[in-house]
C-alpha cells in the first residue's frame, strides 16, 4: 500500500479494481470510478445498472458506457423562467471542455452566454434556435469522460445575483461554496465544511487539491499514530479486507511521505516529573472549579513556548526547497489528537501570550471539537511547533515525524516510576518522563536542540516557574 501512496491514488484504484472487478465487465475507467468513490446519486436512472454503493464495497456488474449527464439550464437570475435560444456554439458530437461556450440565450434584454459545466462530448441538444428553453430543464446531454471530476464546475447554479442584499451575500457565499461535485463528495466524506476551505481555483473555486491540503494539515505526526488509527476491532471480519486509503489516512500518507524528505535527527532525554505531578494534583481541583480540565499537556505546551522564546530558530517555517526560513513571532503549538476521523494536529495560537490556564482552556476547546470532528481550518493551519503526548497511551522513547514546513516536534512518553539517584547520591523513587525531540537537521543543529531541551526540562522540573511570567 505504501507503494500506492507514493505513486498516487489512481494506481491504487486500478489495483483494487483489478482485484475486485476482474470480471472485466466494467468497461470504462469512468464507470469504475463511479463504483469506487461516488454515491449512487450521481448515477442516472437511465443507467440500467442496479448497483448500490456502500463505501468500501465494490460492485461488479456491468455498466454500459461513460455516464451521460443532463446539463440543466441554470437559473439566470432576475426571476426569469424562460429564455429563448439564440445561438448554439456546439452541436451533437462536439467535444467540450468546461467553460467552453455552449449557447447564447436571450431573456428580456439580457444576452447570456451559457458555458459548459463539464468536460465531455455533447450527446443531445434539446432545443433549436429560437426555441424557448425553461430554466431547470435539460439544455444538453453531455457524455462525461474519464476525468476524475476535477475540472467540473458547478458555477452556473449559483445564479443568485439579482436578489442578494448584504446579509444574503454572506449567506450566499458561505453556503454556496464554489466546488465541483467531486470535490463536494470528498468534503462530505470527511465531514468538512466547504466554507472553511480556501479555494485557490478561479473565482475562489475550491479544488480537490485545496481539500486535500486541508486534510493534510489535519494529519498526524507521530508514527505511533498508526496504533490510534486502527479503530476496527481486530477480530471483526472473517476474510481479508481491503480498503482504499482515503480522506485523513490519505492525507497522513501524503504528509508522512513529505516528512520523510526532511533529514531528521532525534534527541531524547529524561525529566523528573515529581514536582509537576505534585503541582498538578493541587491545581486540578482549582481548575475544575473554573470548568477547566487540567492535565499535563498544558504544562508541556507552556514550557515549550517558554523555551522557544530563548530558541526562536525552532519556531520557524521552512519552505519546501529549504531556501527560506520564516521566523514566526507567535508560538502556535500543535497538539496531536486522536479524533473521530483519525489523528489530527490542531494548534493553539499565540501560546506565548497565554497563561497556563488559558492554554488549558484552549486545549479543552480543541479536544471537544476534535471529538466531534468539527475542527475548523483555522485551528489546523498556521502551526509552528508540535507536541505529541503519546505517553497518555504508553511508550517511552519514540521518533516522531516532523510536520512538513515546521522544523521540530516533541513526543512525550508515559510517566514511569523508576529508581534514580538524586543529587546528593541518595536512591529515590523518581517519576520520570521521557521526551523525544525530532528536528530538521538542515536547519537545526544538535547543540541548539539539546539546549532547548534543557531549557524545557528546567521548566518541567520546576513547574512553578510557569506560573510566573519570568524568563529563566
Amino acid at each position: 500500500m505504501a507503494a500506492f501512496a507514493k505513486r498516487g491514488s489512481r494506481i491504487l484504484r486500478q489495483h483494487v479494481l483489478n482485484t475486485y472487478c476482474a470480471k472485466g465487465k466494467l468497461k470504462s475507467i469512468g464507470a469504475r470510478q463511479m463504483c469506487l468513490n461516488y454515491k449512487s446519486s450521481w448515477c442516472l436512472k437511465e443507467n440500467k445498472t442496479s448497483w448500490q454503493h456502500k463505501r468500501g464495497l465494490f460492485h461488479s456488474s456491468a455498466v454500459q458506457a461513460n455516464k451521460i449527464v443532463p446539463y440543466n439550464l441554470t437559473d439566470i437570475g432576475e426571476g426569469i423562467n424562460e429564455v429563448s435560444i439564440k445561438e448554439w456554439f456546439i452541436k451533437v458530437g462536439d467535444k467540450v471542455s468546461q467553460f467552453d461556450n455552449i449557447c447564447e440565450v436571450q431573456s428580456d434584454k439580457a444576452s447570456v452566454t451559457i458555458t459548459s459545466r463539464y468536460d465531455g462530448i455533447i450527446r443531445k441538444v434539446y432545443y433549436d434556435i429560437d426555441d424557448i428553453a425553461s430554466v431547470g430543464k435539460p439544455l444538453v446531454d453531455v457524455e462525461v469522460e474519464d476525468v476524475s471530476g476535477e475540472e467540473e464546475t458547478s458555477l452556473e447554479s449559483r445564479g443568485k445575483s439579482a436578489r442578494v442584499t448584504d446579509e444574503n451575500e454572506d449567506h450566499f457565499l458561505a453556503d454556496k461554496a464554489l466546488a465541483t461535485p467531486a470535490v463536494r463528495r470528498i468534503a462530505l466524506e470527511n465531514n468538512i465544511k466547504l466554507s472553511s476551505i480556501n479555494g485557490s481555483g478561479k473565482g475562489g473555486r475550491i479544488l480537490k487539491e485545496d481539500v486535500l491540503e486541508y486534510l493534510q494539515n489535519m494529519s498526524p505526526v507521530s508514527d505511533a499514530g498508526s496504533a490510534l488509527c486502527d479503530k476496527r476491532p481486530a477480530s471483526g471480519r472473517a476474510h481479508d479486507y481491503t480498503e482504499p486509503i482515503q480522506g485523513f489516512k490519505k492525507a497522513m500518507a501524503k504528509s508522512m511521505t513529505d516528512s520523510w524528505k526532511i533529514p531528521q535527527f532525534v534527541y531524547s532525554d529524561e525529566i523528573f516529573a515529581m514536582k509537576l505531578t505534585e503541582l498538578l494534583s493541587h491545581m486540578k481541583e482549582i481548575a475544575s472549579s473554573r470548568g477547566i480540565k487540567l492535565t499535563y499537556m498544558p504544562f508541556f505546551i507552556k514550557a515549550a513556548s517558554k523555551a522557544l522564546e530563548n530558541f526562536p530558530v525552532l519556531n520557524v517555517n521552512v519552505d519546501e526547497s529549504c531556501e527560506n526560513l520564516t521566523f514566526r513571532r507567535s508560538h502556535n503549538i500543535g497538539v496531536a489528537m486522536d479524533t473521530l476521523y483519525g489523528l489530527v494536529v490542531p494548534n493553539i495560537k499565540n501560546v506565548q501570550a497565554l497563561s497556563l490556564l488559558e492554554v488549558a482552556m484552549e486545549l479543552n476547546r480543541l479536544q471537544e471539537l476534535g471529538k466531534k470532528g468539527a475542527l475548523r481550518q483555522g485551528d489546523l493551519t498556521g502551526g509552528t511547533f508540535s507536541l505529541s503526548n503519546i505517553g497518555a497511551i504508553g511508550g517511552t522513547y519514540t521518533k516522531p515525524l516532523i510536520l512538513p514546513s515546521q522544523v521540530a516536534i516533541g513526543a512525550l512518553g508515559k510517566i514511569q516510576v523508576v529508581p534514580r539517584y538524586d543529587q546528593s547520591g541518595n536512591l529515590i523513587k523518581a517519576e520520570v518522563i521521557c521526551v523525544s525531540w525530532t528536528a530538521d537537521h538542515r536547519v537545526i543543529d544538535g547543540a541548539t536542540l539539546a539546549r532547548f531541551s534543557n531549557t524545557w526540562k528546567k521548566y518541567i522540573e520546576n513547574p512553578f516557574l510557569l506560573l510566573f511570567d519570568t524568563a529563566l
Binding site: I76, G77, E78, K86, E87, F99, E104, Q106, S107, D108, K109, A110, S111, V112, T113, T115, I129, D130, L155, E156, R158, G159, K160, S161, A162, V164, T165, D166, E169, D170, F172, L173, A174, A177, L178, K193, L194, S195, S196, I197, N198, G199, S200, G201, K202, G203, G204, R205, I206, R376, Q377, G378, T381, G382
Partner: protein, 413 residues
C-alpha cells in the same frame, strides 16, 4: 495570462490629467475566500470591491464597443467594479440577435453617414449621438444587478437636478408622470463577468432618431428580436441645465458613493476609498487585442451576417407592356428571398403567366443561381444584372424589370 497582461498594462494605462496616482493593480487571484485567519474562514468579502469610473476618450462607436468587449473578456472585476462612460458620433446600434434590415433603413443611414453597429448584448435598437451618454456597469457575474444600477441613476438625477424618474416595468428609465423614456437598457451575462449598459438621452437629435429608427412594413419574416418602439424625450427638455458633461460627473460620483453590492448610498466618505475617475484612451497599445475586436465589430459579417435567418417577400405590379396578352392585367411578380447569415440562401420567384415568354421565363434560373450565396446587398443585384444581361435581347426588358424588382427588394429593406 490575459489577466497578467491586463495587470501590467493597467498600471500604465492611466492618462488622467490631474490624476496620476500610482494604481495598485487588481490582484489576479480571486480572493473571495479570505485567507486571513482573523475572521471566520469562508469569509464573505474580504472588503468591499473598489470602484472606478472610466471615461472613454473615443467617439467612435466601434472603438467603444470594442473597449466594452475587451473589458468584459479580459478584466477581473472581482475586487474592482467599473463604470464605463462613453459617447459616440451618430450611429445606430442594434442588439445581438436583431436584424438590421428590419430595424433600420440601411440605405437612409448610409446617406447620412450614420453608422450601423451591432453590440454584444441583447435588447433592441438605439440611436446614439453626441447628446447621448452611454453607461456600462461592469461586475462579476454574481453581482450583476440591473435594478440597483438604475436606482443609482435615479438617485443621481434627483440629487443634482431634482429630476424625478421612475423605472418602468420593462426596466427602462422614464420621467415621472409621463411615459417617455430617457434611457434604454441591455445586458450581457457570461462567465465570469457580466455587464449592464444603458443610454441616457440628454440632448439627442430627435428628428434624426425618428428617421433612423423608423420602421416600415417590409414584408420581413424572422425570429430576430424585434425592437419595441417607445416615445422618448431628452433630459434637457425636462431641465435645461442638464448637459452631458455634467451628467457624466454626476453619475460618476453617485456610482462611487454607492455600495458595490446593493444600491445603498454610503455617503461622501465612501468615495475616498474608491479609485475615482480615469480617462481611457482605447488604443491597441493600452489594450492589446482591441484592434482585432474592433475589426470584427466593423465587419459586414458581424453587423449584417449575424442576423438570424429571415425571408423577405415583395410583390411588384408588372407593367402592362411586358405582359404578352391583353387580357391579363394586374399581374404581380412576387419575389421571396431567404437570407441566412446575411447570405442569400434561396430565391423564389412567382412569375405570373403573362410575363413568361413563349418558351418560359428563362431568366428564372439565372436569377436564382446568381443571387444564391451572395451577400444580401446591392452587390448581389449588380451581379444579377450582369448575369441577365448576357441573355438574348428579346428577354431584355423583362429581365431588366425583374432585376429592378430585386433591386428594390434589397434597397428598400
Amino acid at each position: 495570462m490575459a489577466q497578467n497582461l491586463v495587470t501590467k498594462l493597467y498600471r500604465i494605462s492611466v492618462i488622467g490629467a490631474a490624476r496620476n496616482k500610482p494604481y495598485v493593480v487588481p490582484s489576479v487571484k480571486a480572493v473571495t475566500y479570505s485567507t486571513s485567519t482573523q475572521q471566520d474562514s469562508g469569509a464573505v468579502k474580504n472588503s468591499d470591491a473598489v470602484k472606478s469610473v472610466f471615461i472613454s476618450q473615443s467617439n467612435d462607436i466601434f472603438t467603444n464597443l470594442a473597449l466594452e468587449d475587451w473589458l468584459y473578456k479580459n478584466f477581473n472585476f472581482i475586487n474592482h467594479h467599473i463604470l464605463l462612460l462613453w459617447r459616440n458620433s451618430p450611429a445606430v446600434v442594434i442588439g445581438r440577435h436583431q436584424n438590421p434590415w428590419l430595424e433600420v433603413n440601411t440605405s437612409v443611414l448610409s446617406e447620412h453617414g450614420i453608422e450601423i453597429a451591432r453590440r454584444n448584448s441583447g435588447g433592441g435598437t438605439v440611436y446614439h449621438d453626441n447628446g447621448n451618454l452611454n453607461l456600462t456597469f461592469f461586475t462579476p457575474r454574481e453581482h450583476y444587478n440591473r435594478k440597483n444600477n438604475l436606482q443609482l441613476i435615479n438617485r443621481a438625477l434627483i440629487r443634482e437636478w431634482g429630476l424625478k424618474t421612475e423605472i418602468s416595468p420593462r426596466e427602462d428609465i422614464v420621467i415621472s408622470g409621463g411615459y417617455k423614456q430617457i434611457s434604454g437598457t441591455a445586458a450581457k451575462l457570461g462567465r465570469p463577468n457580466a455587464y449592464h449598459h444603458c443610454t441616457l438621452l440628454v440632448s439627442v437629435d430627435k428628428e434624426k432618431l425618428k428617421h433612423a429608427l423608423h420602421k416600415h412594413h417590409k414584408g420581413i419574416k424572422t425570429n430576430a428580436t424585434q425592437s419595441i418602439p417607445s416615445p422618448v424625450m431628452n433630459l434637457c427638455d425636462v431641465n435645461s441645465h442638464v448637459t452631458v458633461e455634467k451628467l457624466l460627473s454626476t453619475i460618476g460620483w453617485e456610482y462611487l458613493r454607492t455600495c458595490p453590492y446593493t444600491a445603498e448610498d454610503r455617503g461622501k466618505d465612501f468615495i475616498m476609498k474608491q479609485r475615482g475617475f480615469q480617462f481611457i484612451n482605447p488604443t491597441d497599445q493600452w489594450f492589446p487585442g482591441l484592434d482585432k475586436l474592433r475589426a470584427e465589430l466593423t465587419s459586414w459579417d458581424w453587423r449584417f451576417g449575424k442576423s438570424p435567418k429571415f425571408n423577405v417577400t415583395r410583390t411588384f405590379q408588372v407593367p402592362q407592356e411586358l405582359l404578352g396578352k391583353e387580357e391579363l392585367r394586374n399581374e404581380e411578380l412576387s419575389i421571396t428571398i431567404d437570407v441566412n447569415k446575411g447570405m442569400v440562401e434561396d430565391v423564389m420567384l412567382m412569375v405570373p403567366p403573362g410575363l413568361k415568354a413563349a418558351n418560359g421565363f428563362s431568366g428564372q434560373a439565372q436569377v436564382v443561381t446568381s443571387l444564391k450565396g451572395q451577400r444580401f446587398s446591392e452587390e448581389a443585384v449588380t451581379i444579377l444584372q450582369k448575369a441577365l444581361s448576357e441573355l438574348e435581347s428579346p428577354e431584355q426588358t423583362r429581365n431588366e424589370f425583374v432585376v429592378d424588382c430585386v433591386r428594390q427588394v434589397v434597397k428598400s429593406v
